[in-house]
Chain length 273, copies 2
Amino acid sequence: MLSKNQIKFVNSLKQKKNRTEHNLFIAEGIKIVPELLLSKIKVKQIFASSDFLNITNIDKDIECIEVKLNELERLSALITPNEVLAVCEIPEYELNNVDFNDKLTLVLDNIQDPGNLGTIIRIADWFGIENIICSNETADAFNPKVVQATMGSIARIKVHYIGLAEFFENYQKSYSNKSAGRKPEGIHIYGALIDGENIYNSPLASNGFIIIGNESKGISNDIISYVTDKISIPSFSHSKSADGKAESLNAAIAASIICSEFRRGRSLNTNAY
Amino acid sequence: MLSKNQIKFVNSLKQKKNRTEHNLFIAEGIKIVPELLLSKIKVKQIFASSDFLNITNIDKDIECIEVKLNELERLSALITPNEVLAVCEIPEYELNNVDFNDKLTLVLDNIQDPGNLGTIIRIADWFGIENIICSNETADAFNPKVVQATMGSIARIKVHYIGLAEFFENYQKSYSNKSAGRKPEGIHIYGALIDGENIYNSPLASNGFIIIGNESKGISNDIISYVTDKISIPSFSHSKSADGKAESLNAAIAASIICSEFRRGRSLNTNAY
C-alpha cells in the first residue's frame, strides 16, 4: 500500500529541480531496472509487483515496496507501466581524471530532445564510447524519457555536463602541460557540419572528440573554433528541384552513422586491404 | 472562423479508419506543408495564419481557411501548433510497375513505433531510396506522428503496404518469367539479423531489398526464408559481464547505419582502392 507521500515524492522526481535537490532519478521496467541492479548505479528503492520481487535478486539494503498495477500507474512516467519502478542515485563522474587522449568521446552541444539524447547514449554504448560530454543546455540525461530511451545504457555510459568552451580550453591547456609545451596536435576534434568533408572519404582517428550540434541550429559559434576536422554525411537524395529533397538527418541518426564510420575500420578483415 | 464540423472532421483524420474512409491525411508546420505544396501530393485544404497565407504561393484550387493560433490548437495533433495545417490526399502508388531490379529498396516487417517509421522514411530520402515496402502490420505512414517525423520526406518517398510473403513470392515469379525461367539469383534480399555476417565485411550490392524487422521480435518467421544475405551491425560495447552491455540498436538507428554502409561505396574516391 502506497502512502500519499511516497506517490508525491516519486512524482516530484519527474522534474529536474527535484532530481537535483535529492540527487535521485527514476527508472522503469523489467528491461532497465535489472540492468541498473547489476550496475554501479546505487538503487535506493524499488516499487514492484510481487512477481518481479519474487524472481529478482535484490540486495538487502534496497527498500522494496510491493505494489499493484493500479498503484504503479500513480508513480509511473510511462503510458503503460511495466512491473517495476526504481528510485536511484544520480551517479557522479569525475571529469578531470579521464584520459581522453586514447579514446573516442561524444560531445553534445545543446541536444534538446530527450528521445534523441537517450538514443545517443544507447548508440555510445553499442559503439564502445564510454563518455559523453554535454553542454549545460543539453537535455538532462536523468529525465525519465531519456532514461527509458537508453534501454539500460544509462547504467554504463558516463554522461558529464560542463560548459563546452571551458572544457575544450582546459583540455588543451592540460594537454599542453603534459606534452611539455606542445600543442595537442594529435587530438582531433571532429564537428558534424553541413559544409564538412565527406565522412566516407575522411581519415578518422581511433581517438578524439566528435561534436554533435543542436537539432535545428547545429554546433554553436563559440564551440566551432575548437573543431579541427569538419565532417559531413553526404546525401544521396535524388535532387529534383520541384520535389525538394531531404535537407538534414535527425541528430541521433547522424550520430549513429558517424560512430559507425569511426568504428567500422576496427572490425574489417585486414586481408581485405 | 472555424465551424464545429471542420474541427470535428480534421480531428477525425487522426484515426486510421477515417483516413482510409476519406483517403485524406493531415500534415502540419512551416517546414512540411510548403514541401507538400511543391510535391505531387494533392493538398486539398489549408488552415493557416494570415502570415503564412500571405507569404506562401498556394494554387487557387486549394481551399484556404485563415485561422488564429487558438483555433489551430483545436485542429492540431502537435503540442505546439506551427502556423499551418494541411489536409492532403493519400497518394496511391502502383507496386506492379516498379522495376526493383536496378535499385535499393527498404522493406519494413512490422515496424510499430510511428517515430521510427517517420525517421526511416526520412533516412530513405537522404540515401536516395525511392520505395519502402511495409508489411500490412507496420504502422500507418499517414499517421500524423509519422508524417511529422518524416520532416517532409513523406512527400517524396513511395510507401507501399502489402503482405511481404505474397510480395516476395510474386516478385520471384515475375523475375523468373522475365529472365526466361532463371531464378532471381542476381537479386539480394538482405535481412538485418543478430546472427548475420558483419556488415562491415560483407559485399553489398547497389540493388536489392533490405529487410528491417520489428522493434522487439525482429524479422518474422514467414519472411526469413526469402533472405539471401543475413547481415548484422557488430557491437563494440565493452562486455564486462557484471555491467551488462548494449543488446540491440533501435530499428531506425540500425536502418540508418545499414543504408549508410550500402551507399558509402558510391561516394568513395576510387583512387583509394
